[in-house]
Symmetry: C2
Subunit: 345 residues, 2 copies
DNA sequence: TTGTACGCGTTATCAC
DNA sequence: GTGATAACGCGTACAA
């Protein structure tokens, strides 16, 4: 199959390349009879248009580029799965890159995707620097951009966020309702990769507000910083256990860190929730698998992916009319065993 | 930034487009002085070559295409992460597609990737039909293909496999050594998507051999079939529990199904390992997180990714000299609590 | 309703 | 060492 081209098909049908091109791209002006003839020749010969030539001419790609900050975090893969599903229905492929919690890689991925002329960009988490996106958006002819869980302050960037402040508030209030007062928090990183994740600050604020509502004075010694990964949760929990009076409960800013915390609690010979209660955030699939099951806040993963696909569809269909959106989703408390106060205490 | 081209750079430097092209591509024949001048102009103007035009001319892509059968299974993402890391060092991007355990999607992904002129293909798991790959490999000018955990019987397809027979044998022998005799197995699907995963049959064979070694007669009622997913493991375990005499131990063909089995055991009011011991396969990260920790067979995920990248590098560097490889890796038993016989029983 | 001819930005092949 | 120029395969004015 040495590079079948438009010309080959045209010759075979006795028509011009323009006609074949029109049929392939569904132009309306071809007569039904020639269309049929050409179409069957295309199918029969197994002709596939050269995307390079096509892209060179149209200056448009054929895939949606996606950058996630951590491919091994199930939250991201769940969102991507939903996004891919919706995109598939619209006939778009998906070009997925992992920035591995590194801005340099994220920036490189963005550049690569742009070079490859994607038809839209989806940035999930804190994977690309604000200034990099800014610079790209400033270019004329840029493709639609959707950011998920990252509140880029850039005109023209669509944003899908989750009301993590409310989620964190609910989570902390739940712990307080269980009777806990010394509630620690393992937050996301204040600096570097991940620090700009929308939920990071939000979750911290929600935690603070819930404490305030209950008249509990926040204790800085009960605050630890992680990096949204399992190992980061472990380190943070070790610091919390080392620091004087042990917390009664821990609210972690995501499930991966919550899992890390649980492992350290167990290592220390303590039990969850009997000695220390734990609540996470995201509701990744394994949260239901661990024992005790992890109480957590369920992110609307499927909705986020579907909404991103919808925005892309709208922007591609009518670039002029589609307006930039900034939408916030809710997140719900899922109570499992890790946060339940043992009866009789 | 309205589409900066070679010509723009050439004009600015007062040289020809050919020279600029040569500098950009590191051709050896440009004088050091012009090279310097051109290079700095390129940097200064922020010129980036148009990949469409380049691809049209060279008939080569700039990314490696990867298809996995389940993006939400951590085994796959761990392999992809390692692969991406190695590929990055060689300057290749990674185009990741999820076939979602569906052959039609996998085939579509393959076609898309080929259309996009990837520079190599990596197929992980049972994501693309044998005949589809066969047909592609038959084309002249096809790119190198590496299959992981799928033993395509096709000349020219590189294969990276894991000795799952040995792994399953070790796992089952471990259970026997703990004193268990009624050992059930939750295997992969015998038909449809996933059935051709290399490890599926292998793991079954290893299980059988270990039983035979110990003089245990295999009981067909202790055999259940899953689909390599969490829900599949649950259903299989329900069938095992429903079927008369309860097994003492369960060997699941992957961790996701093992997790599903554990959840059903717990639902039934039984304990792991006290009432039923469980062993999985893969050693996904959460296997260490659950409680009890899941005893499992550790797949060499990092090695698989790195090896795939190495093969690709070799084939691209010297297509003629590089030979097709079929390599088998080992897998090791990781003992955690889920398989330990309670003391005194 | 169809065909002709040009150009997209790049690389490769030559002459100089 | 360097520059002109012809492809690469496609879409699309514009002519017929």
């Amino acid at each position: 199959m040495p590079a079948l081209t438009l010309k080959d098909v045209a010759q075979r049908c006795g028509v011009s390349t323009a006609t074949v091109s029109a049929v392939v791209n569904g132009a309306p002006w071809v007569s039904d009879v020639t269309r049929g003839r050409v179409q069957s020749a295309v199918d029969e010969m197994g002709y596939r248009p050269n995307q390079f030539a096509r892209g060179l001419k149209t200056r448009r790609g054929y895939a949606v580029g996606v950058i996630v900050s951590d491919l091994t975090n199930p939250f991201f893969t769940e969102v991507v799965r939903s996004l891919g599903h919706a995109l598939r229905e619209d006939g778009w492929a998906l070009f997925l890159c992992d920035s591995d919690h590194r801005f340099d890689l994220g920036d490189g991925n963005l550049r690569r995707l742009i070079d490859g002329h994607v038809v839209a960009l989806v940035l999930i988490g804190d994977s690309v620097r604000e200034e990099t996106v800014q610079r790209y958006i400033a270019r004329k002819g840029h493709v639609p951009v959707v950011a998920i869980e990252r509140d880029y302050d850039i005109d023209g960037v669509n944003r899908l966020l989750v009301d993590s402040e409310h989620g964190a508030h609910t989570a902390t209030r739940h712990l307080i309702a269980q009777g806990y007062r010394r509630i620690a928090m393992i937050g996301g990183p204040r600096q570097g990769a991940g620090s700009a994740t929308y939920g990071r600050e939000q979750r911290y604020l929600g935690y603070r507000r819930a404490l305030a509502d209950a008249g509990i004075k926040p204790d800085p010694k009960l605050l630890a910083e992680g990096n949204f990964r399992y190992a980061g949760g472990q380190e943070a929990m070790r610091r919390l256990l080392a620091g004087g009076q042990r917390p009664e409960a821990v609210f972690a800013a995501n499930d991966m860190m919550a899992f890390g915390a649980v492992s350290v609690i167990h290592e220390a010979g303590l039990r969850v929730p009997d000695d220390i209660a734990v609540v996470g955030f995201d509701d990744v699939p394994s949260a239901a698998l661990t024992s005790p099951g992890l109480t957590t806040i369920a992110m609307p993963k499927t909705d986020l992916g579907a909404a991103a696909a919808a925005i892309i569809g709208r922007h591609i269909a009518a670039p002029a009319r589609a307006e930039t959106v900034r939408r916030t989703f809710g997140a719900e408390l899922v109570v499992r065993q890790s946060s339940l106060r043992p009866i009789g205490r």
